[in-house]
């Protein structure tokens, strides 16, 4: 039998826990309001261009193309170019977006956007990621609901917990400050404003270790798209050849992606120049984006004739 003293201890701990939750939240709000973000390593509360994207997505419906994925998506698919080719496109990519966050986003916005085709940008790193960076981005920039709460509890990262709690409390007292961002373009694309070129730095060899939770979320997304009768294709956007060749098990990744459906790897299709067409090892500059998007539109015109408005 448990002694009375132990039961008293457990009761005391429970009462303290209530005190702790209230006190912790107040301290979080106080520190978050007074100190600079750089002095609070486990709290993120600076809104970015994803805030503008998620504001815009609420005003958007019935698109031809929906782009999902990481910065490779939102910096790789220029919605202005697609618009000029008569594709109504929306880019729902976000920083380091992993399938865990993509799943939340499609649960929130898929029905309203009602795309004819989903272009799901897949790259090896997001499947190896724990998804914290993207989770923070989503919590800070979007309205939080039960999906975000579930994500916070599943990911067990103190930064996510702190940021979620802070966002909830801050939402009661303050309006989110609108951030003017010239790089953000209508439709969700983020442009590189000044010309920039990759310096050709050697990339360390990387073995991609697939995160099981990411694979599970990825499969759930595909099931959900199938269930809603929405076509999708998987696309790997171009990265520099130095980066692409640094993945020691890229073949295994390509085979895995091909097993999930139509998979187009533009690293194998286009012959881009590492220095001229990229601004860093991962991202195309505007010259590269123009080439990539033109090739991709060409592909769409040939294979998906019924997509256009």
């Amino acid at each position: 039998m448990m002694s009375i003293q132990i039961i008293n201890l457990i009761k005391r701990i429970l009462i303290f826990s209530v005190f702790l939750i209230i006190g912790y939240t107040l301290l979080l709000f106080l520190f978050g309001s007074v100190l600079k973000p750089k002095h609070l390593p486990n709290l993120v509360y600076k809104v970015g261009h994803n805030y503008l994207r998620l504001q815009e997505v609420r005003q958007t419906s019935n698109v031809d193309l929906l782009f999902l994925g990481s910065s490779h998506a939102y910096r790789g698919f220029d919605t202005r170019i697609f618009s000029a080719s008569n594709y109504k496109a929306f880019n729902l990519g976000s920083s380091s977006q992993t399938p865990i966050q993509t799943l939340i986003l499609i649960d929130r916005y898929l029905k309203k956007l009602n795309p004819k085709l989903v272009v799901f940008e897949v790259n090896p790193m997001v499947f190896a990621s724990d998804g914290v960076e993207s989770g923070l981005d989503l919590i800070v920039n979007d309205n939080n609901d039960l999906h975000s709460l579930k994500m916070v509890f599943n990911q067990k990262n103190i930064k996510l917990h702190n940021t979620y709690l802070y966002t909830l409390v801050n939402g009661i007292f303050n309006d989110t400050v609108y951030v003017k961002n010239k790089a953000y373009k209508k439709g969700g694309y983020v442009a590189k404003l000044k010309p920039a070129y990759f310096n050709g730095e050697e990339q360390d060899k990387t073995l991609i270790t697939f995160n099981e939770n990411q694979i599970k979320s990825f499969e759930t997304i595909l099931r959900r798209l199938n269930k809603n009768c929405i076509n999708y294709i998987l696309v790997q956007a171009p990265v520099t050849s130095l980066k692409y060749n640094s993945y020691s098990n890229i073949k295994a990744f390509n085979s895995l992606m091909a097993s999930y459906g139509d998979y187009y790897n533009y690293n194998e299709v286009l012959n881009l120049n590492d220095t001229i067409d990229f601004y860093d090892s991962h991202h195309l500059n505007q010259t590269g984006v123009n080439i990539f998007n033109k090739a991709f539109i060409n592909f769409l015109d040939n294979n998906f004739q019924d997509l256009k408005e």
Partner: protein
């Protein structure tokens, strides 16, 4: 399993509840402690559980036979068997490569080519701690200071007791083993005190040590490119890192034991407030220092004969115990050189009381002595942290260059404000709690409960805000 992991956060309450449910069955409770401890250790690597079990079995039977035997030669032989087994395990797993490499280098230096090959050996976590703990048992039985136990389960629980299994305190059998013989009583105040000590230990580890480690690593890993003052800052960060890490572990171990009704020895007594190096060594890693005192220094003759040699041996062995590297041996030697003048001048026991007792602040002389001692200890820590002896020597040479008096480089300075504020908070709390067993033992004790709870909430908040998002192991796991 790490104390600062989610696994342990789940493990501890489950073990706690089952343990106290078994309270009326002492044998079952001890068996449960042993099993839980094996699970705790096996979480890291189950393959090395056999080493603990082997050590346990060997010392259990050897101690029983030592007591049975009347023949001094047989008793001595049995003791040697125990020493050989335990130190042999330590030698193979911890020191084999060190000896082979040095052997090769020595012969190469003499012009001979010897090809002793080193092995890819994984060092079992905590091996230096539990082998010393079980050795103390056999030696005490040999010296007739302790009756051997006939209860294998109690002995296995004593050797593997999970709160202190992997990084101490290194408990004496005379203190811990008898606690397994009698039934434990849950005491509310003791448990609450244990929780408080765990909280302070977590703060030391997750806020102080892990954040200092970021900057200590940054500076030590690129020491050739920093100014003298930046290197000095790096050494200070390492001093706080190792203190926060190791004393934090001890606090969590002692606090956890108290939840289960056990009392472990104090392992740290605010060593950075020491006024001389002798006092520092009475306050730093007390369980290891006293172990060496009782089982090596005194048998060598203590302070009665060859005291300088004996002190030197103790410090060298202590250094070598920490790791199979010349850097640790030199670290030990430097501390011996600090200590011996005090011993010869008979000033090694001048400062035995608490600094500035019953006073709020130290006197200027005390403050000067504290800063001098801390500086000496910090210089020695450079050897402890450096990759090699030459790295340490260059680090110290560059540290004492002219730019020691300049400001540390801007790229470091602009980053460290939060940790400097946290360190200031930490030092103040430690100062006001220096007469207790751990800093917050009696802090705000007589205050209104919400004030006390607000303070604990602040500590938990600081942990939540400044902890690393990746689990970071304790430094002393590698020893």
């Amino acid at each position: 399993m790490l104390f600062n992991s989610i696994d342990f956060t789940i493990f501890l309450p489950i073990v706690f509840l089952i343990y106290w449910l078994l309270n009326s069955h002492l044998r079952a409770q001890n068996l449960f402690v042993a099993i839980s401890s094996y699970v705790f250790y096996g979480w890291w690597d189950y393959r090395f559980l056999f080493l603990i079990f082997f050590s346990t079995v060997v010392d259990f039977f050897i101690a029983k036979n030592i007591q049975k035997s009347r023949d001094p030669k047989v008793r001595k032989l049995l003791l040697i068997c125990s020493l050989f087994t335990n130190l042999g395990l330590l030698g193979v797993f911890k020191y084999y490569n060190f000896f082979v490499e040095n052997f090769n280098q020595a012969f190469t230096f003499l012009g001979y080519h010897v090809n002793g090959s080193s092995l890819n050996i994984v060092l079992p976590v905590g091996i230096s701690f539990y082998t010393f703990q079980t050795l103390s048992y056999t030696i005490d039985v040999y010296r007739s200071k302790l009756q051997p136990t006939h209860n294998f389960v109690s002995f296995a629980a004593f050797v593997s007791f999970f709160p202190q299994l992997v990084a101490g305190p290194i408990e004496r059998a005379t203190n811990l083993l008898p606690q397994f013989y009698k039934s434990r009583k849950f005491e509310y105040t003791n448990a609450v005190d244990g929780l408080r000590q765990i909280l302070w230990g977590l703060f030391k580890k997750m806020v102080i040590a892990d954040n200092c480690a970021l900057y200590a690593d940054m500076i030590f890993n690129n020491s050739e490119s920093y100014s003298g003052s930046t290197l000095a800052l790096g050494a200070v960060f390492f001093a706080f890192q190792i203190y926060g890490d190791f004393s934090g572990y001890s606090d969590i171990a002692i606090g956890t034991s108290r939840l289960f009704g056990f009392n472990l020895m104090q392992n740290f007594a605010f060593p950075y407030f020491s006024r001389d190096v002798a006092e520092f060594w009475r306050r730093w890693h007390i369980s290891l220092s006293t172990w060496f005192r009782d089982y090596l220094y005194i048998p060598l003759g203590g302070s009665r004969s060859h005291k300088v040699r004996n002190v030197f041996v103790i410090f060298l062995v202590s250094g070598f115990w920490h790791g199979a590297n010349w850097t640790f041996i030199i670290w030990g030697a430097i501390n011996a050189l600090y200590f011996i003048p005090l011993l010869l001048a008979k000033r090694n026991r001048v400062n035995t009381s608490i600094v500035a007792e019953n006073k709020r602040l130290p006197s200027p002389k005390e403050l000067f002595n504290i800063i001098t001692t801390f500086s000496l200890v910090t210089i020695a820590w450079v050897f402890f942290r450096a990759e090699s002896v030459s790295h340490a020597l260059i680090f110290i040479r560059d540290m004492f260059s002219l730019d020691l008096l300049s400001l540390p480089v801007y790229s470091i300075r602009k980053l460290i404000y939060p940790i400097v504020v946290l360190l200031a908070f930490f030092v103040v709390v430690e100062w006001f709690g220096r007469k207790d067993k751990y800093a917050i033992e009696n802090l705000l004790k007589n205050k209104f409960t919400p004030i006390r709870w607000a303070f604990y909430t602040l500590i938990i908040f600081l942990i939540g805000m400044y902890m690393q998002t990746e689990e970071t192991p304790f430094i002393y796991f590698q020893f």
